[in-house]
Symmetry: C2
Subunit: 424 residues, 2 copies
């Protein structure tokens, strides 16, 4: 698992071989990551995974074993293996900071280096950003839909075991309160949450024995799962055992709005007025929004979060936009493939703000500092990572970036991006 | 990245703590993995990831660093940490073999052990199976739609960087010919493929220079990407440089059926009658099927494959179905939550075959050997993995399992599962 160099498409290496032979390998280039469009109906995208990209670029090395594999599998020739043996990205990378929002055409990552060193990074950079941005976009919508109530990320079991850890990170940076995933707590310091599943109740001889066991071991502040058999019976048993000190009950099935109402009334009647109600079970931003009026104190979200709520990948691409010509000048380039237009030339990006509200995304082929808040920060300088930051900073940035967007950004109904992208 | 123990939801560990306290931890249990239903309209599911599950169970250990993290994060108490320090799954696991197909209720994995040792495995087992089975189901439909033409898996950039490797594996076991992912070749021996992207053409001063560089370095058998500027010009240039020895051209945009027709005619007129045509660009099983009559020699598939073609997770659950009672007897258990019915009791499964064609999935609470082909094999015996097999065997099994299904299984239109599940 160590090293990221083979988390790469074969053609990045065969292009390198051919470019070393043709001489183009050492031309200076600019590659950019952007989305031609947002997923259908979405109002904004969210930048996530940037710190993971920085780690991946730093770890992009070809050790002896890797080189031997490439040799024996005949992926590339000896000259290319020699180049790879000393490979180390030595260029510059600029990017939107994590938590920032983006729109169609936003150049969220700008990679400057020789063709050889920049082309190799395409696959792993896109893997990370396409995954993390997809989850973050869903998470951000859910956080808004929850209107201040805490959200627990609990989708680990619905996605690849390592994707789960990255998903927890993306959710947290968009405002989720906690995650079920222990590796996410260990690696990123995200608070973890969770108490018990139906299996815990079922393995005991009665629900009462299970609840008693849980309360004695985990304390009265724990969350008891009350829908294994009959919700009303379970709530009665729970309060009988724990009294008003009971932390919370969790409901995982049924019509959550109706059941939450009934449980709230029952808890209040039993004197457990401070006991909270957590709901889980196939929630997404729409069902969370629909529960706004229900007496719910927190949501657990799984499947729809880790699968990007209908859009499991962010459709980001990594495109060559400029390269050195024979005279040593950097010139814009763009393919002309049908339906896949690209804009050539290195980009600068700004968010135009008027009266505290964002009004446009400015994407220009030159610096235009007067146009608004600059969106590109230097992340890697001559191969050295300089742009790392704590996850808390990204989390705060997302909050601020969202607060700056016009209200329509928060609409869950399909529509155009919240602000237009203006190209100069 | 080493060890799988923290790729786990917190509640598995807090349940363990409470069960150690209540005494239920050491009860014998049976957990089963199954899907209550297939994704909407799908005719069958595909079992993938079993060997990865066996690896994950073997690597499920709590080393000193992990225990120290759990202690400092106050996830569980000292008694539980002591249990975890010597944790090693010592039970039995039975499962459907990789490549086998499954239906609603099929018990694709049966885990027998104490509650303590079996409950801990839930999250990582589900992560692996939900991801790999989702990709495999999409891959299997694409392979059928391609009708014998080779498929290249090239979705790495559209999914988490490690999920990409597992996705390539799942695709290959369902009949994909190759993958773009180099780690998948290294780890699993899957043939890798790929030659060049648009960036390679754009970094050169002309398409002709790019093609010449690629041909000289990668040989005449290479695949030239012909849609960077004008397809007809590119094809002319390609054949001018390579002659009839040119291996293939790749088309990545436009109306693929129309463009493929034009390119085929042009290649034939230029004498390159053996040069193949590969198409790529947002293909799924439906667009692949729609290209059946087009002169296409191979497909490259990315996004739709790694995202399960609309169903990025397989909806598999891991449920307690039986546990020891106070007298030491194993008794069936099942929750009664609204809309989430479970069938209690340990299951056996068989595929009923009539005249070489599968007619029903038999799921029974007792062995019923006369009912058909047994579907559960012993994979782990008293903690020892005994069920590993080469990927080639799983690939052949999938081919055979598909050949056995009634023709309706191959329908891409939505409908009921290809065979009914009968519960005894």
């Amino acid at each position: 698992m160590t090293g990221t160099a083979l988390l790469t498409d074969r053609y990045e290496l065969t292009m390198l071989q051919a470019a070393l032979a043709s001489g183009a390998a050492h031309r200076r280039t600019v590659f950019e990551v952007f989305a031609r469009s947002l997923p259908q109906g979405r109002r904004y995208g969210v930048v996530a995974g940037v710190d993971r990209v920085l780690d991946a670029i730093e770890d992009f090395r070809f050790d002896e074993d890797t080189l031997e594999f490439l040799r024996s599998a005949r992926v590339v020739d000896e000259r290319t293996l020699e180049y790879l043996a000393s490979y180390r990205f030595s260029g510059d990378v600029y990017g939107y900071r994590e938590g920032e929002v983006f729109f169609p055409g936003s150049p969220i990552l700008v990679v400057e280096g020789t063709f050889a060193e920049a082309v190799l990074l395409e696959t792993v950079v896109l893997s990370i950003l396409n995954h993390d941005c997809a989850v973050a976009a869903a998470a951000s919508r859910m956080v808004h839909a929850a209107g201040g109530r805490p959200l627990i990320e609990m989708g680990s079991r619905r996605t690849h075991e390592h994707a789960a850890v990255a998903a927890a990170r993306a959710a947290y940076l968009c405002g989720f309160a906690s995650t079920s995933n222990l590796m996410a707590e260990r690696r990123y310091g995200i608070p973890s949450a969770g108490t018990a599943a139906h299996a815990f109740t079922l393995v005991h001889d009665s629900e009462k024995e299970a609840f008693r066991g849980q309360l004695e071991s985990l304390g009265y502040g724990t969350t008891l799962l009350v829908d294994t058999y009959d919700v009303a019976n379970a709530v009665r048993t729970a309060v009988e055992l724990a009294g008003p000190r009971l932390g919370a009950v969790r409901i995982d099935s049924g019509d959550l709005a109706v059941v939450a109402q009934e449980v709230r009334r029952q808890l209040d009647e039993l004197g457990a007025t401070k006991t909270k109600i957590i709901v889980t079970g196939d929630l997404d931003e729409f069902s969370i929004a629909a529960l706004a009026a229900a007496p719910v104190d927190g949501y657990g979200v799984g499947t729809s979060l880790v699968t990007g709520s209908g859009h499991p990948t962010a459709h980001l691409v990594y495109k060559l936009v400029a390269r050195e010509d024979p005279r040593g000048e950097l010139i814009p380039v763009a393919k002309r493939s049908v339906g896949k237009p690209s804009r050539g030339g290195r980009k600068w990006a700004y968010r135009r703000i008027s009266g505290g509200t964002a009004t446009a995304e400015i994407v220009a082929n030159r610096p235009m500092e007067d146009e608004g808040r600059p969106l590109l920060a230097k992340l890697i300088e001559r191969g050295e990572v300089i742009g790392r930051e704590p996850l808390a900073a990204a989390r705060e940035r997302h909050r601020a970036a969202m607060a700056e967007l016009p209200l329509v950004a928060h609409s869950l109904s399909p529509g155009d991006p919240a602000i237009p992208t203006i190209f100069y």
